[in-house]
């Protein structure tokens, strides 16, 4: 069974995504890292669906792809607006909520 290999690949992708979200300053890169994390999860879902011979894993993966597309749409729009207002998309510059 190749489940372990899939899970290890998913974990690797997720870890890369987390690193990208936490470490990259560029907003677009952060969004892309989020995509990585989502796809790591998709990989896991499909792998477990295959393992248990059910189709719901793949269905869930399709849902996530659709939602991710929408999310990227919204996310890029926010980044675009940020750029228009502040001439920058470096996320560490946006700390209006600092306590």
């Amino acid at each position: 069974m190749l489940l372990n290999q899939f899970l290890l690949l998913g974990a690797l992708l997720f870890a890369v995504g987390v690193y990208g979200v936490l470490a990259r300053r560029n907003g677009v890169m952060v969004l892309m890292s989020i995509e990585l994390m989502l796809n790591a999860v998709n990989l896991n879902l499909v792998a477990f669906g295959l393992q248990h011979d059910v189709v719901s894993g793949q269905v869930f993966a399709l849902f996530i792809i659709a939602v991710a597309a929408a999310e990227v749409g919204v996310g890029l729009a926010i980044v675009l607006l940020l750029y228009r207002n502040r001439k920058s998309i470096a996320v560490d510059e946006f700390d209006l909520m600092k306590g």
């Binding site: 936490l22 560490d92 946006f94 909520m97 600092k98 306590g99």
Partner: protein, 728 residues
């Protein structure tokens, strides 16, 4: 015919209703100027009912006595039956015949006993197993008082309609006059001692209210209070006496108590002595006997018709009536039958003497009459003290008429002479007010005891009672009686001199009173002449061939059903004693006549002689009794009480209040310091500063940078995941 005797409760009820009607509707519905009509009508009806009651009672006595004289043999059988049935007695109308005869039975009255008419309703109220009945006890004594009270009350009601006319409290005056009449009538027909106390107190309250009728002036309210408080002193005696009687016999029923004393005699002597002494205190206060008589002259502050009705003719004889009502108790308690001096006779005689003495030093005509009343009430008490029951009641009867006439006459004089009672501002009034003068003189002769006026006959009977006594005579009382007869005649003649003779010393023009005042005076004056005829001795009536009409009071008024049981005897009349009494009265008049009219005698003695001056001052200061009471007795009690009260105030009450205040203050401080500031404020502050420092601490984490938050999120998730992996 006995209907009214059995339903005697109607008699006090009618004036009581009149009282309520006048009080509630007098000003609004009837109109203040017309209320006297209500009062006069009510008392008029009651007068008629009282006369009916008198006729019924006389018929009843006739029925029981004719039984004896008609058939002597039957009477003898009835004696035996009566004696055997006496233990089961109490049946209405049952006839008892006493077997004894004291050799003076020629008055035709016989010694048959007439049972009183008792109507009672059980269950008035009950207390700890004792049931109190309410009812009426009508006998000859009650009927006699009914006649006196309703007659005088009716005349006073009529007289007052003019005398008090236009007074601002005209309505209240008539209301209380009605209430007084109701109370007095209730009192005289009380069936038990509790009812008697109720009536006794009610008349006291009416007296208080009427003495203080013009309460705007301070002396009047003082006099009212003095009357009330002095009477309270005696009321304690009344309560104690009644309690002793109840403790001894277990009943409040007057008739039962009198019968029980008659049967038990010396067995209960000590209890009766105690009860008599206690009840004597009540008599002293209500009937103005020494040493509690001092309220009566001050009571003259009330309107004069009130003085005539309450403080001369009716209420003040309540004490005399009470002695007569409970006569077996006193007879046994004071050993009246066997002694030659006793407390009651002495108090009566002494009061008669000092009252007559005081009357000389008064300038206020009403006060002279008030002391005269004190003196005459002393006469009545003395008569009861020497065992002359009939003489006392007869004197009560005659005295009511001529004393009421004198008081109303004084009122008429004052009405004419611009509302003064000071005899120094009168004089010569016989020319201006002939009717008042004539009636006043007639009543004076009656009071002085001049033949053939009413007072002569009743005073003579009292002297006779003291002369003969029961088993032994009362020589001291006889001397007192004769001296008082002389003094009475003298001071009344002095009043006539100052009021009606000489020159007018007041101001303005005196005038005769209207008819509505003089007609009652004339009625009373006529009674003052003829009232003596109600108890003429047999030898006198024999002259006219009317022996059947002799001793009417003795025959019809005596409560024979218990006086026979204690063996009361009647002394035969004495011609020479009557002459002595008459000579005394005439001597009194003659001495005063010489002194004033002929201007002989020691004029100005009181200015010249130190001892005479001292004696006059002593009389003028009323034997210093008022000083004794107010300064010494009340003062000695009042000052320590005041000091003690002040000490208690300073040291106990103030201390308690101060301690309470200080304690409250200290505990308030403690609460402020330790609870409010220490606990609550600190808690709140600590919560605030805790939240503040907590916020400051947590603020560091709030960087505003999304990636920091993400780091925390993922870091935490990683830690949790590791924990899960290791633990689970």
């Amino acid at each position: 015919m006995d209907w009214i005797l059995e339903n005697a409760f109607l008699i006090p009820l009618i004036p009581a209703v009149s009282f309520l009607v006048i009080l509630l509707f007098g000003r609004s519905v009837i109109g203040a100027e017309r209320v006297h009509r209500v009062g006069i009508t009510a008392v008029g009806i009651v007068w008629v009912l009282s006369m009916l009651a008198a006729v019924s009672w006389i018929t009843r006595v006739e029925d029981s006595t004719s039984y004896k004289s008609d058939d002597a043999e039957h009477a003898q059988i009835a004696v035996n039956e009566g004696l055997s049935a006496s233990s089961a007695g109490g049946l209405d109308g049952e006839l008892h015949l006493a077997a004894e005869d004291d050799g003076y039975g020629d008055d035709g009255g016989g010694y048959a006993t007439t049972e009183p008419v008792i109507s009672e309703v059980d269950g008035w109220w009950s207390s700890s197993g004792v049931d109190f009945a309410v009812g009426t006890l009508v006998d000859g004594q009650t009927v006699l008082l009914l006649i006196v009270v309703t007659s005088i009350s009716l005349l006073v009601h009529i007289y007052s309609s003019e005398y008090v006319k236009g007074d601002r409290r005209f309505v209240h005056y008539y209301a209380f006059l009605s209430l007084f009449t109701a109370s007095m009538l209730f009192f005289v027909m009380a069936q038990n001692l509790v009812q008697m106390i109720v009536g006794w107190e009610l008349v006291g309250v009416c007296s208080f209210a009427l003495i203080g009728h013009w309460w705007e002036e301070r002396p009047n309210t003082d006099a009212a209070l003095k009357a009330f408080l002095t009477n309270r002193v005696g009321d304690i005696g009344l309560l104690i006496g009644v309690i002793i009687l109840f403790g001894t016999f277990g009943t409040f029923d007057i008739d039962a108590i009198n019968r029980a004393v008659g049967e038990m005699g010396s067995e209960v002597h000590f209890a009766m002595l105690m009860a008599s002494i206690a009840l004597m205190a009540a008599v002293c206060s209500k009937s103005g006997q020494f040493p509690l008589h001092t309220w009566l002259p001050d009571a003259m502050a009330g309107p004069t018709p009130v003085s005539a009705l309450i403080h001369a003719a009716t209420m003040v004889v309540a004490g005399v009536f009470m002695i007569g009502r409970l006569y077996p108790v006193f007879f046994e308690g004071f050993s009246i039958g066997t002694s030659s001096i006793n407390l009651m006779a002495f108090i009566g005689g002494f009061t008669a003497l000092i009252g007559a003495g005081l009357a000389f030093a008064q300038w206020d005509i009403k006060k002279v009459l008030a002391y005269s009343t004190v003196s005459q009430l002393g006469y009545m008490v003395m008569a009861l003290g020497v065992g002359a029951w009939t003489a006392a009641m007869f004197h009560l009867f005659t005295h009511a008429f001529f004393k009421a006439c004198l008081f109303l006459g004084a009122g008429s004089v004052s009405h004419a002479a611009h509302h003064t009672f000071d005899m120094r501002e009168m004089g010569g009034l016989r020319k201006y007010m002939p009717h008042t003068y004539k009636t006043f003189v007639i009543s004076t002769l009656a009071l002085a005891g001049v033949f053939p006026f009413a007072g002569f006959w009743s005073k003579d009977e009292i002297l006779l009672g003291a002369f003969a006594g029961q088993e032994s005579a009362y020589p001291l009382m006889l001397i007192f009686g004769c001296v008082v007869a002389l003094l009475t005649a003298a001071y009344m003649t002095r009043v006539i001199w100052y009021t009606f003779w000489g020159e007018y010393r007041g101001h303005g023009h005196p005038h005769e009173s209207p008819k509505v005042m003089t007609v009652p005076l004339w009625i009373l004056a006529v009674m003052a002449v003829v009232a003596g005829a109600f108890n003429l001795p047999t030898p006198v009536m024999r002259i006219f061939g009317l022996e059947g009409l002799a001793h009417l009071v003795q025959t019809y008024a005596e409560p024979t059903h218990y006086l026979n049981a204690i063996g009361l005897s009647h002394p035969p009349p004495s011609f020479w004693l009557a002459v002595v009494g008459l000579v005394m009265a005439l001597a009194g008049i003659a001495i005063t006549f010489m002194y004033f009219w002929r201007n002989t005698g020691p004029h100005g003695l009181t200015e010249r002689n130190r001892y005479a001056k001292a004696g006059y001052t002593f009389l003028e200061q009323k034997y210093y009794l008022d000083h004794l009471y107010t300064d010494i007795v009340v003062g000695s009690i009042k000052a320590p009480i005041a000091r003690a009260a002040n000490w208690v105030n300073d040291n106990v009450i103030d201390k308690v209040v101060n301690t309470a205040g200080e304690g409250a203050r200290d505990s308030g401080r403690w609460v402020y310091r330790w609870i409010d500031q220490g606990t609550i404020d600190n808690t709140v502050n600590a919560l605030g500063s805790g939240a503040d420092s907590g916020g400051q601490g947590l603020r560091v984490m709030q960087t505003g940078k999304v990636q920091n938050y993400g780091s925390l999120l993922f870091g935490t998730a990683a830690v949790v995941a590791i924990v899960f992996v290791i633990v689970l």
